[in-house]
Symmetry: C2
Subunit: 205 residues, 2 copies
């Protein structure tokens, strides 16, 4: 395997996903930290040399760069038991990972970012105007997961997969975004199930 470097901000759930996947497949990662609160991912050097999109995480594989957390997780998990072999189950795993980026992360992760990192008193008018929608849509995302976990132990294919890792990252920090997980008991049980998997690592490792 080529040398792997994770360009990251360690507290980001999107970066944590990649570390968690790496732990599950036994891949070693060198880690390089950028302080997003100081704009270190918007510097000319970062934009030109790491990611023109100005975002972490980026997984560096030898001399090649792979942005987008879920894509980096897919690269790491390639050929492992985290990727279902069955055609439908594989697509269903991707379904949850795409859903995470569209319905879950922009709401649940962004509310955590606002509350813990920016501070609710420091939001711009534009950010503040979007808060009710992010709360409403974050709750809807957790409702959808609750409905799923009422009948299933895992997200796709009836077993632990990459989708569980990718969804775990920001779901397990929902409280920091103001979402009281007591309202979603099946989600809470699933979180404990994922944290109990062999090789699991915590966010702040």
């Amino acid at each position: 395997m080529p040398a792997l470097i994770l360009h990251e901000y360690a507290a980001s759930g999107n970066c944590y996903k990649i570390r968690l996947t790496a732990a599950h497949v036994g891949a070693g990662l060198e880690r390089r930290e950028y302080d997003i609160m100081k704009g270190e991912t918007r510097s000319p050097a970062f934009l030109a040399g790491v990611n023109a999109n100005g975002r972490i995480p980026v997984l560096q594989i030898g001399d090649r760069l792979l942005p987008e957390s879920n894509a980096a997780c897919a690269w790491l998990a390639h050929g492992s038991a985290l990727i279902p072999a069955d055609r439908f189950d594989h697509a269903d795993m991707l379904r949850w990972m795409f859903w995470e980026q569209y319905n879950h992360e922009p709401n649940i992760a962004t509310m955590r970012f606002y509350r813990v990192y920016v501070g609710m008193d420091n939001l711009s008018d534009e950010q503040r105007a979007g808060v009710p929608g992010r709360i409403r849509n974050g709750e809807a995302a957790l409702d959808l997961m609750e409905e799923h976990f009422a009948a299933h132990d895992f997200l796709a294919g009836g077993r632990f997969s990459l989708a569980d890792i990718c969804l775990y990252a920001y779901t397990h920090t929902s409280r920091e975004g103001g979402f009281d997980l007591d309202r979603w008991p099946a989600v809470t049980r699933w979180l404990a199930r994922i944290a109990g998997e062999p090789r699991h690592v915590a966010l702040e490792d």
Copy 2:
């Protein structure tokens, strides 16, 4: 192959992606139309029987249901030349597809929805407050594609892949969302390249 039913709203770019992928791989689709403007995807029957997330498209494969457009495209393209065999190229294809759901669709597709379907005079206060951010982020998405296409003919792996199909769908309707594609000439050339691929079908087929 099991019978395939596309639950859709034909004018949606997310539904078009699936039809375009099906055309490229030669898969036949039965189509069932729902009028999202009349709330037909929020009916109890739709929520219980098609997608608890209340959204189209959903690809029905025999008696199984697969929401999320990019996941449905991945199912259809499984084993075809649209999916790069190389591990990095495969992950890089997914990278653009995840990026599309996070950085492109919520801005460029939503502005089209506002302008063409809802009407800018009919937006809620919350929708209106988000418009400047969607324009700014949509322009940034097109800038990132422009930078990529200045040096590459396709998105991933140096050749036509599923990522090109998934990004084509809403990029080629950018003007309807108010994004003047004359500003992005390399993107415009890429659009013509994709439309010129054998087996291409137009949005309103």
